[in-house]
Symmetry: C2
Subunit: 378 residues, 2 copies
């Protein structure tokens, strides 16, 4: 993997990540395909709307379908039919949030599967080995993600454990090779809850270990947005300019713009697909709830400035009808549009940074996004 920083505008950055499976322009939003599928969206549709990299989840894919079949398929790319880059989360977050957690020890974490109750252990070495089998372009270290709020003493001990685990992941990474001949990179994860001193210590220690990229984890877990922005800025001030920076699980369009302004390059979030399935559609002029009666006779597109299949082909009235009628097509069209919107957002941010007009563009877009939704009935 190679990261090239191409433009800066204030703290905002535009760059490119070169991987075996293709180039990722940054800032980038990564659609979430937890179980090896982005919900209700086909891989060819992801390509069509400009997705350059998608996420998979080690915890989920390890439990189902399991490593054997993915290995037989030549890795996750082959198994799911996605040719472009893939980032896999280590599964640490899911072990803590989904499974029946049985114990966090120095060695690793023991849990029972949320699917069948079977017992498993994830050690730092094991999650590297599993991600070798998945064949993801970007792998994540095993970390402990703290809830919010979190006791300071616990947050400190937890960060120290995450740090030791990061070192063990790095060691196992060096001892192993890509399973399918395609280069894989390992990103570290800065933790430290909302404590500036712990965040700084975490970031400095990981930087000293020289990872290929750095994620900021443990945010967007319920803390106020201002705290998220503060922690993010504090981390990016320490992280090296020459490595990509990934803010995990974030967030709203507003969150993403503020994080780009603080020097973040990569994002993932289930919000565009989950909101879409709940009939909430993002537009350049605020969110729309497609179930609202106001859309009943609105023959205009969801977002007149959007070029996605949904906006090119269908009206708000038809989308509302599909949601009211319980048609699966509603979920498909809404998910396509919301992902297209998020990808437009990061593409436009990149252009604005390259042209050194990011701050003004961001302020004007934030004002538009916060406005009352525009109703398009003629």
């Amino acid at each position: 993997m190679e990261f090239r920083l191409e433009h800066t505008d204030g703290l905002a950055r535009a760059g490119s990540i070169m991987t075996h499976h293709g180039l990722i322009p940054t800032p980038i939003f990564m659609p979430v395909g937890t179980q090896g599928a982005v919900k209700a969206v086909e891989p060819r549709e992801l390509e069509e709307i400009g997705a350059r990299i998608i996420l998979g989840n080690t915890y989920h894919l390890y439990l189902r379908p399991g490593r054997d079949i993915i290995e037989r398929a030549g890795g996750l790319h082959g198994f799911i039919g996605w040719r472009r880059p893939i980032l896999t989360d280590s599964g640490g977050y899911q072990v803590f949030s989904l499974s029946d957690l049985r114990g966090i020890e120095e060695e690793g974490v023991t849990f029972k599967s949320h699917l069948d109750g079977s017992s498993h252990t994830f050690s730092p070495e094991r999650v590297v080995e599993i991600q070798r089998v998945l064949g993801s372009d970007i792998m994540m270290v095993l970390d402990e993600c703290n809830p919010y709020p979190c006791d300071e003493a616990y947050a400190f001990r937890s960060h120290a454990l995450t740090l030791r685990w990061a070192g063990r992941c790095q060691n196992r990474m060096a001892q192993t090779s890509p399973a399918y001949g395609a280069n894989q990179s390992l990103f570290a994860i800065v933790q430290g809850s909302t404590y500036p001193a712990i965040r700084e210590q975490s970031a400095r220690a990981l930087v000293a270990m020289d990872f290929e990229g750095y994620a900021i984890g443990g945010l967007s877990v319920g803390e106020p947005a201002e705290l998220m922005y503060m922690m993010t800025g504090l981390c990016t001030a320490i992280l090296p300019a020459s490595k990509p920076r990934y803010l995990m699980g974030v967030g709203t369009p507003e969150n993403i713009l503020e994080a780009i302004a603080r020097g973040v390059d990569m994002f993932d979030c289930v919000m565009p697909t989950r909101n879409g399935r709940n009939a909430v559609l993002f537009t350049r002029r605020g969110k729309l709830n497609m179930r609202n009666a106001v859309h009943t006779a609105d023959l205009g597109p969801v977002d007149p400035d959007c070029t996605c299949y949904t906006c090119r082909s269908f009206s708000r009235a038809y989308l509302r009808h599909l949601f009211k009628a319980g048609e699966i097509l509603a979920l498909q069209l809404a998910s396509i549009h919301n992902l297209a919107f998020y990808l437009w957002l990061v593409r436009s941010a990149r252009e604005a940074i390259a042209e050194r007009r990011f701050a003004a563009w961001k302020d004007s877009l934030l004002a538009a996004l916060a406005a009352e939704p525009v109703i398009s009935i003629p």
Copy 2:
């Protein structure tokens, strides 16, 4: 509308129906879009797999979203974003099967909506007027569809009513014009349950009234397949060679082949999409249940002879994983494939008829379809 009979091979026919929205080669299978959407399949995907005409349902669309918004959109084509021909069922079948039926009178049928309990009346004139607003290329008369088994005296009285209603539909058709300048045709529906004498009488009376096409209704409602075939053959022997023939709600691939052999031109059925959503996939060598463990490590396509997106891009193992994981993408990929299979079936039948090898092709395909499903693990 113009129907051109191009080839015959025994009783099997190949032809073309010319409509304002395009040509329909026959035999044809019509994907079902009851509520203005084919479940889990996008209009562009229907075009890709070769769908030439889809179905809409007058009962459903009248209740939701209602005529006003469809009229404002310039008809159903504009509302749902489908440029090719549409056939709308009159809704008679749904009034009897879905609604809280309040009475069948000479004048029409009174029912309460299955959605909100509101009261409505469908008369023969009214369903023509509604279908004028829908703007479908092919409209259906209001009929009474008998259950199976059905008392002979009831079946006779019912057929007589359906006949009088057909006449009233035809009259109202003559008194009204297409709402959007695009020619619309009206098809009659032969009824008579499984009583040959009533079926013959129904068919002869409708033929004498000179409709633009003829449907055979009231079959595939639980009767043995042999009875269905017998009734079908009895009707097609009476229906004029110069008009298209539509066997409503049929059926399995085997049913369709047998009906084509008896001179039927058009089919519709929810089976490919409904079975697909239930993980049952059709192949040229029998059906597969994608949830079965035998597919766990099968990296071959669902049907190696199929050229659809699903078969070109994904393995049986991945489809099984998607179904097991509850991913919406499973429903999309299965529905695309099953509809592609049905459309391949009728296209291949058409070619075989044109080359006068239909009987041999049909026998060989029937044998393959009835075989044990072929497992493709290497």
